[in-house]
Subunit: 418 residues, 2 copies
């Protein structure tokens, strides 16, 4: 019998109803917190006018399950029913009206906060809640703490050190955009990377932010650009040598899709390892890279690909089954919950079991350090089997298929000559 | 006998040696011009220290041919020998040491100029030279005038109107980055788009600029990002409705590669025409789009793909043979000159003739309004034949192959419901 999948969702969200962050917030920020709450309520009222039917339908149909945003027992129940053994947890559980966001918007839009005090206060309030949420079943959780590194590196390091030894905490999230602060290629951030390497906490950006001020409210521009702004830090870390100075540093881009990894690996390998330009470019990379750019994917660079499209699944050997990590996006309505197994059956039916295991859990286990032995009994109880996904267990991926997926290595005779 | 190809290079460069722009410049800027020249010379000296062998080898080997940068007779001779019937001409002929750039860097880095007076003065100097260069054989030229639209829309419109009736002028180039000025989605630019539509002058961005101030001199970050910054205006024009307000407006992204068009069409069609999200998103696009995003490619949006990679040629039906336009990049060393026919033979050997004709000339003819009848005698004299490219004239592309190339249309049941 083929054992069931140990599914680790690399993208999930948790958050208290905004009001309930009050006891987690340092009391000197309570006046500003009341202003924040008033803004959030006004925003919800506006959303309700625009989308009343959609919002009320979603919220009433899933009333019980949505409580898992902050109630760990309910959360485990939803995960069990969905076949998910473990998960990586980001903030902002309410994706529609923003009513489960950390104080001052310190979650997915943290880069928007100008005031360092508010940025750290909001992050800390969420982190206190998150530590509580994850403490009960830490083997099933990788809670991602919020660290607004742009405002104050020393204080960011303290926050990372505070998070480091908490059970069930598995990473940190930094603002997606650095805006007017130092870009992430700056060595000023080295203490942050050092602290994350020491604590084995992967660093994340998560989609959400983009320079809206340049977009005049045109939603199409936002959608066209948001993926770039989410993955932009990869280039700034890689090509400034951060992964050479901190070989244990892991950087994860979450819910920013994964299709772009395919061309990124090709172009970056071609620039720095292709044909006759190799030696010249490799010389420019002295001390910055020690191998081909694509080789940092799956060791230092990972992608929390969320609910992958069929095309991304077809591209899995180019993107890398050791790079992309599937996720439910629970409890967001654009995710797969509460129909995860049906969706997996639809999308992975023709994928070999070995590739599926990596995309659905093994790569996340390696990235975050989940204990697969501890998760196995849970998976045995709840996990879908290859048969549940309609898979043919005889299907295997040939080495030739994997080799052809990285077609540029032959075509440009790519080699590292640094 | 299969007739020869009428090759139109959609990417070429021309420019005077910097010093020789002096008589083309309004005299009140001569003091600043001397400063600019001093900076350029210092930059050349620096480059020579770093790359003496490479630069002197290139410049001495090609001494005669490089004079085509500013000498139209020499230019025609180089084109003839290379099999190129006509060309689209951008500024900055010296890609290595920058010694053939318009005053004040008003060419490929125009967005860097803070002072509106200098921006327009540099552009005007180059435009005067360009009009002279193109006047002799206008059927072979589409000179791209420089128009720094971010500084002053009314003045930009005057410059466009001045360019509009000059023989051999075929487009305008705007700064690739708007920096602190209004983004290109702003209706403040409508008079510019109106003037370009009226004059049938395609608007261009050309690769070169990127936010270097965020890159701390790390060349890898620049290479990783420059394509995004070059094509970024497409989304800002399309999703602000510029192509609906100005249906005759054409926008061309040049020397920023073309591989990204494939995923761009997929994702944008999926966002705005895919499955169950269709109606909601199409409603948001009311008055902004009137068809699927991919359908603006080849009518309003074109790509000056320069020396396409083999992978881009393989993706030609996804990118669109009616979208991508091949180019030599003459006289830049990273281009195909003076070995264009050999390169075409290597890259297009297994491509059907019909697809090749479109990529090498017909799409550019349609985009820029070249007179193919006028070019035919030139092509008959100089153009390579399918046989010269080693092609099998029996090869044809099936309609099924073209349909499968736009795979997302079936997979997402893409349809415009606006």
């Amino acid at each position: 019998m083929t054992p069931p999948y140990t599914i680790i969702s690399a993208d999930a969200h948790a958050g208290l109803p905004c009001e309930e962050y009050r006891p987690y917030l340092d009391s000197r920020f309570l006046a500003q917190f009341d202003e924040f709450l008033a803004q959030r309520r006004a925003n919800r009222d506006e959303q309700m006018v625009l989308n009343y039917d959609y919002i009320t339908n979603w919220e009433t149909t899933h009333e019980e399950g949505l409580r898992g945003a902050y109630d760990p027992a309910q959360r485990d129940k939803e995960m069990d029913a969905d076949g998910v053994a473990a998960e990586v947890i980001f903030p902002d559980a309410d994706a529609i009206t923003g009513m489960e966001s950390p104080p001052f918007g310190a979650g997915l839009s943290a880069g928007m906060i100008d005031d360092a005090e508010l940025a750290f206060a909001g992050a800390r309030a969420h982190n206190r809640f998150l530590v509580e949420l994850c403490a009960g079943s830490p083997e099933r959780r990788a809670g991602v703490g919020l660290v607004p590194i742009c405002h104050d590196v020393a204080r960011a390091v303290s926050e990372i050190e505070w998070l480091a030894d908490k059970p069930g905490i598995g990473g940190i999230m930094i603002p997606t955009m650095w805006r007017d602060h130092l870009p992430y290629n700056d060595p000023a951030y080295d203490p942050v990377w050092a602290a994350c390497q020491a604590a084995a906490l992967p660093v994340h950006t998560h989609s959400g932010e983009a320079p809206r001020e340049e977009m005049n409210e045109f939603i199409g521009i936002y959608l066209a650009e948001v993926v770039f702004w989410t993955h932009r830090p990869i280039a700034h870390l890689l090509f400034s040598g951060a992964f050479e100075r901190f070989p244990g540093l892991k950087f994860v881009v979450t819910e920013g899709a994964s299709y772009w990894v395919a061309d990124m690996k090709w172009k970056w390998d071609q620039y720095f390892g292709g044909g006759h330009t190799t030696k010249k470019m490799a010389a420019l990379m002295k001390g910055i890279l020690s191998k081909l750019p694509s080789e940092y994917f799956g060791t230092n660079i990972f992608v929390g690909a969320s609910t992958m499209s069929k095309e991304e699944i077809r591209r899995r050997h180019t993107i890398g089954c050791d790079v992309a990590m599937w996720g439910t996006d629970y409890p967001h309505p654009e995710g797969t919950w509460p129909h995860t197994i049906a969706r997996l059956r639809s999308d992975f039916g023709d994928v070999p079991v070995e590739d599926t295991r990596r995309l659905l859990g093994e790569t996340a286990a390696r990235c975050y350090g989940f204990d697969l032995d501890a998760l196995r009994p849970i998976a045995a109880r709840i996990g879908p089997t290859p048969d549940d996904l309609g898979q043919d267990v005889g299907l295997v991926t040939s080495p030739e298929e994997i080799r052809r997926a990285e077609w540029w290595k032959d075509e440009y005779q790519v080699a590292w000559n640094g």
